[in-house]
Symmetry: C3
Subunit: 144 residues, 3 copies
């Protein structure tokens, strides 16, 4: 196989401080356009208060994630975190992102995302209302 790669950036500006956005269609399109048949697809948050993760496309579960993350790393009181002494109030978002992860790697097989039946890729925002980016990079081999 000849080695190929393709890199794209997705931009988000969520209306709420917390959000989960299904980016599977965006990533699928990039993989298809890459012409790569066998390879790996990296999708990562480029900001350190956001995540890219794979889980279920079910709104009740997303509410569960949000409640659970708030219990594990509460936003308030802001003064409980040293980081917030810098003038930020988003220390909790840095912690939440560690639980949910920065990135996923998905296999590409026969030119498609090689997914189990329920796998979907989400952008997880924990400090929104500002412009942020996700990097998608596909690397592997194609026919030409």
């Amino acid at each position: 196989m000849m080695m190929k790669s393709k890199t794209e950036y997705l931009t988000f500006n969520t209306a709420t401080s917390h959000a989960f956005v299904n980016i599977t269609p965006n990533v699928r399109k990039i993989v298809e356009e890459s012409g790569i048949k066998e390879g790996l697809c990296l999708a990562n948050a480029m900001h350190i208060t956001a995540s890219v993760f794979i889980n279920d496309n079910e709104s009740g579960l997303h509410q569960d994630f949000d409640k659970w993350l708030e219990e594990l790393a509460p936003h308030a009181p802001a003064a409980q975190y040293k980081h917030n002494e810098t003038g930020e109030d988003n220390a909790d978002a840095h912690l939440k992102r560690q639980i949910m992860g920065r990135e996923v790697i998905v296999a590409i097989t026969n030119g498609k995302l090689d997914f189990g039946p329920w796998e979907q890729i989400f952008y997880g925002e924990f400090d929104g209302r500002r412009k942020k980016r996700v990097l998608v990079k596909v690397i592997g081999g194609g026919d030409e």
Copy 2:
């Protein structure tokens, strides 16, 4: 180097709802069969209530993981989770999987998994007694 890849699927049906299965021998065999000398090996759960992770092959630690995950994301009462209103009772398994992770990437160097002294790869099941799969994909360069 010429680029090569190899993709295999492992199937699990654990007898218990929670289990940790050492899949290092399976992954090692796939890497050796691939003929890839320098590359990356992806191993990921294809189901969203299971994990693939790297840690110690020590049964006491596995009991510690199980108890700890139950404290961080308790199974009962089921009604504490919105996801379980869909008729599922596995919301906690979706949360536990985020702590333990979906996937690992292991370097392949000189045709071998490039591991530290204690690294072993585990399949982590949090909602078992059903058929589930792990994807293993090796990508890199070989001699031919």
Copy 3:
């Protein structure tokens, strides 16, 4: 593109049991030396009580991480963990490493780490005062 790879190992022996070390300059140098223009860079802890993760280079946040991890997976009392019956006292370090993660994958674009504005790579030590290693592997395509 012709496929290339480069593998290096970083060694740490932290003076304290817990430490966060910024390894971005080390990883950047390895990527530059690799001559790889488009590819992926894996950086992983080779020990199972340590992490490699990407977050903010801000000392207050690092203190927040340390305090938070101690709340989620306390070191003491040692007897709360089965793993410590083996004669170890580092069960908590194995748990903390799961929260922070084993590895990161960073895209290489135009020969550079393709980072957002605040992304920095850290080695996270949870059971230090001994020699440990991080693996850095770059794989991708170059001009020659």
